[in-house]
Symmetry: C2
Subunit: 197 residues, 2 copies
Amino acid sequence: MARDTRERIVRVARDLVHGASMAQVSVEEICAAAGVHKGSLYHFFPSKDALGVAVLDANWALMRALLEEAFGDDVPPLVRIDRFVDGYAGMLALMRERMGATPGCPLGNLAAEVSSRDGEMRTRIVRIMDAWARYFVEAVREARGRGDVGPAVDADEVAVHILAHLQGMATMARAYDRPELAGRARGGVRMLLGLPA
Amino acid sequence: MARDTRERIVRVARDLVHGASMAQVSVEEICAAAGVHKGSLYHFFPSKDALGVAVLDANWALMRALLEEAFGDDVPPLVRIDRFVDGYAGMLALMRERMGATPGCPLGNLAAEVSSRDGEMRTRIVRIMDAWARYFVEAVREARGRGDVGPAVDADEVAVHILAHLQGMATMARAYDRPELAGRARGGVRMLLGLPA
DNA sequence: GCCCTTGTTGACCGTCTGGTCAAGAGCGGC
DNA sequence: GCCGCTCTTGACCAGACGGTCAACAAGGGC
C-alpha cells in the first residue's frame, strides 16, 4: 500500500487541479477524493506546494505520453504534429466529459497560476516548456529538410509560436467551454508553418 | 471622496490582480494598497467576486483603449493589427517594470483562473472575448477586400487564432518572465494571416 | 518473537480569509 | 440648526485553510 497511496494522491490531485486550479482545490478535498487522511498526505509531501510540483510532473508525464504517441512512429514530421494536436484536443474533450467542464491546458494553467510566485515551480515549468518545444523544433527541422515547409522557416521560432498557439486555444476552449476549439488549433499550426490551411 | 474611492479600489485591485491572480490577492491587501478599510470596500462591492467583475471590466476597458488607439486612425488594416500587437507587448513590458515580473494577459489570466467556476464572470468573459475578436474580424475582412491577404482567409476563424495566439504568447512571456516574447507575436500573427514573416 | 522502518490515523492548532455590523463622520438640502 | 444620506471606521466573527503531532498499525528482516 506504500507507493500506491502516493501515486493515488498525485493522480487524484492532478485531476482535481486540472479541472480547477491549485488554489481552488484544498488539501482536504484531495485527501477525501483519494480516500486518505491529511496526515498521510503530509507523510509523502512536506507542503501543498511540494504536492503541486508532483502534480506538475504528472502533467508533464501525461503530455509527454501524448507527444511520444504522436511523434513515435515513422510518419512524416508534419503528420506527427497534426497527430499531436489531435491527441491534445482529444484529451481536452475527454476531460470535459469526465468533469463537466473544459479544463484548458494542464501545463499552461499551472504556468499561468503559479509563475507569479517564484520558487521551484517556475523554473521547472520553464524547463518543461523547453522540452515540449523541442519536439516541435525537431519535427519542423526535419520537415524543412524534406522540403515540406519553406526554407525560410525558423524552427526555434515556429516552435514557440506553436506552443503558444496551443495554450491560447486551450484557454479559449476553457473560457467558452467548447473543447473543439482546441482541435481547430490544427489549422492555426499549419498557418504558422507557412502552409495553406 | 465618493466615486473617487471606488475607482481607486478598482484600479489598485486591477494592478494587484494583474500581477498575481484573484485568489492570490486578499481583500485586506487590496484595502491596504488603496488606503481604505475593509468595510469601506464592502460598502461598494457586495463580495470579492463582485469586485472581481469590476476588475474584469477595468481590464477590458484598458484593452479597449489599446484597441481603439491602434485601430482608430486611417491606416491599412494590417498595420492596425501590428500596432495593436505592439501596444499589447508594450503594456506587458511596462507592467513588468512596474511590478518586477511579467504579468501575462490581463483578460486571459482571469479567463483561465475563473472560468472553471461558473457565475457571471464566465459569461462576461466570453462576451469580452467576442468583442475583442470583432476588432480583428473587421480588420481582416477589410484587408481581404483590399487584397492584402488571400481571398481564402476566413476572417472569423483567423480572428480566433490571433486572439488565442496573443494570449498564449502572453502566458509564455509570464512563465519565462520575458515580456519581449509578446512582441514576437507579431510574426505569428502575420503567419496566421497567410503572409510571409 | 522482537524490533525497526514505513505508513496511517484523527484530533488538534494558529492563522488568514471573506464578510458583518453598529457606531460615527461629513456634507448638502431645507 | 437639524435632518438624512452617503461614506468611513475598526472591531468583530465564523469558517476554512495549511500544517502538526503523538500514538498506533503493518510487516519484513534477523
